[in-house]
Symmetry: C2
Subunit: 355 residues, 2 copies
DNA sequence: TTGTAGGCGTTATCAA
DNA sequence: TTGATAACGCCTACAA
């Protein structure tokens, strides 16, 4: 059905190898035949068969990308960042969704290997302590770069979660908040663990007392987790005067709960999330957040993987992308004191003119 | 390097063809050897080489997906919907980003064909009037399903954009708005054209006058487009009393502009977008919108493509997924009249308890 | 500068 | 029930 190299060769009364050589722009082919070949290819609509080519060159120019949830804006943006590097380099992406399911992830990895991918980018849904999985990954025949979620002693690119937790918490401290609570993610996800660690380190650094009940573990990925956690926190006495939520969805749920409780932000309570969601600035109270630099994560991960593929250097290496604080109304109490009324300050700050 | 069928065969003192047959669970292989084979495969860590297999079976179990922007929540969610159908069916997704670039899209399609994909899902960045492209697509050797953006007489799955425009506009009319403007997307994108058409049809159906200057073409995909358009609209006299924005980002920008101008929603001006963005309900004024049913679009598109692949029926067919109105504060003027103060109504409506 | 032959890892056909 | 052999479409020596 499809046109093969052979067909092009026959059409031109040439041998297959000549046509092949011509298409690879090899030096030992006359310009005249090269042009003839290119024209015939165009005319006949020939597309090389990557399967046959990959079989013999042992290179497919396909990379595997495994993420837990394609629709989460974090992964969507990281994926785009990856593609923006790999696509110009001639690589294609076999993208897979694990639904946070470790077993599924295992199957997917096998499938990718069957497909002879040249490398793998993986945001793993496995428990970081799963030793079997770690050895499996370590023994992989193709280069692997972990993204977003770390595994000890493995090549990794992601946000610097401890710095995220530290910066967010210190920011709240600097805004004058002194009873800072944390809505944390599950212990099985390294990002959540890192952010919690950074939070604790910041409390220590600022001399604040660490209250264990001020740390509430939540759903991490949806608003209801933050909402429930905030309601619990508001029940404490003394109640926290600020909250560092480990994710923007959590922060949004928390914001909701705080507003329902009649609290004003940032006066009565401060709030900061993580993720710099595109619409955080348009919320009822514009949300402070920590930007993980998603596209940078994608770029770095892709570049690192490509260099592993090309140079075959397998020495484990980690790249922690430094976060950026994005201060908006929800935690900006210092700004509030100056000259303006709270209302105006909020309006000004959260709703800057768009141009 | 990698283990091949041959290695497994040697290990078991069997022939390659026997092992192959055993792995395919063919009937003419004794249960005993089948078990031996499966165990050896497990033990040696054999993974079949999809390239070699695909070369001979002419089937790769890989589908190509081409979208204009991976990071847009619409495509991310559609993609997830697609994967949720194709993955259980054993297919993998080669995902590509065109950056809305038609030339790039052409190259990507060729690359996918080179990779011998079994089918293609395409949200095309080409101008719908590009006849060359249309014939190219029509002549494709593999099944193709267009998603989101239509092309005449081609198999398509997407939102019913005309219904979206109609329903949104009629909703505004029913809320008592009579000077309804439209922030439209570019004429080169079929979704924008459809929504505009639906808007016009609704004006006619409700007997409202269609003012051409009430239709402003904007960026479509970002907030600034909506912001600028709204500022223009607010300069008109009489100024519109409601706006149907063709996208949620546009609506968010428009909301921003309206609030800056000191207008109250829904009293002074009504607003509705399209997309049902996850955070639309948490905005300063909870945003009414039209839900396109993204995952349904993904599911239908994937199912249709699979059926085309399996049954080889190439008769063009369109599936228009019906939209759902999602009414929130920004357009809910009727609700406002009843019993509650505007403020309370807003609070109640936009910020329903989360559980 | 061009052509011939062998092989990549798998499946399919047919003979044993 | 198993095994030998020929493809699949391409690339890469090496020969002409």
């Amino acid at each position: 059905m499809a046109i093969r190299l052979k067909d092009v060769a026959q059409h031109l009364q040439l041998s297959v190898s000549t046509v092949s050589a011509a298409l690879q722009n090899r030096e030992d082919i006359s310009e005249a035949t090269r042009i003839r070949v290119v024209e015939a290819v165009e005319q006949l609509g020939y597309h090389p068969n990557s399967l046959a080519r990959g079989l013999i060159t042992r290179k497919t120019f396909v990379l595997g990308v495994i993420v837990p949830d394609l629709s989460r804006s974090f992964f969507a943006e990281v994926l785009k960042g990856i593609d923006s590097i790999t696509s110009p380099a001639g690589y294609n992406l076999l993208v897979c969704n694990t639904e946070e399911n470790a077993k599924r992830e295992k199957e997917i990895l096998n499938m990718l290997l069957s497909n002879q991918v040249d490398g793998v980018l993986l945001a793993s849904a496995h428990d970081p302590n799963d030793a079997d999985w770690r050895t499996r990954l370590a023994r992989l025949a193709v280069p692997l770069v972990l993204i977003d979620r770390r595994l000890a002693a493995m090549t990794f690119v992601g946000g610097d979660d401890e710095a995220i937790g530290f910066e967010a918490t210190r920011h709240l401290f600097e805004q004058g908040y002194r009873r800072i609570a944390h809505i944390a993610g599950p212990k099985t996800i390294s990002t959540a663990v890192g952010r919690l660690k950074g939070y604790r380190r910041a409390l220590k650094a600022t001399g604040l007392k660490a209250r264990e009940d001020y740390v509430i573990e939540s759903n991490y990925h949806d608003e209801s987790g933050g909402y429930d956690a905030m309601r619990k926190l508001l029940g404490f006495s003394p109640r926290p005067d600020a909250v560092f939520a480990a994710s923007d969805p959590n922060a949004i749920g928390a914001l909701q709960a705080a507003l329902e409780a009649g609290l004003r932000l940032p006066q009565d309570i401060g709030l900061i999330g993580v993720g710099n969601h595109r619409y955080g600035r348009y919320l009822r109270v514009p949300l402070s957040t920590v930007d993980q630099q998603r596209s940078t994560i994608g770029h770095s991960a892709a570049n690192l993987l490509l260099s592993l593929i090309e140079k075959e250097q397998f020495r484990p290496r980690s790249i922690l992308v430094p976060p950026k604080l994005v201060i908006r109304d929800s935690s900006n109490r210092a700004e509030l004191g100056r000259s303006r009324t709270p209302r105006t300050a909020a309006a000004q700050n959260g709703n800057r003119r768009m141009r």
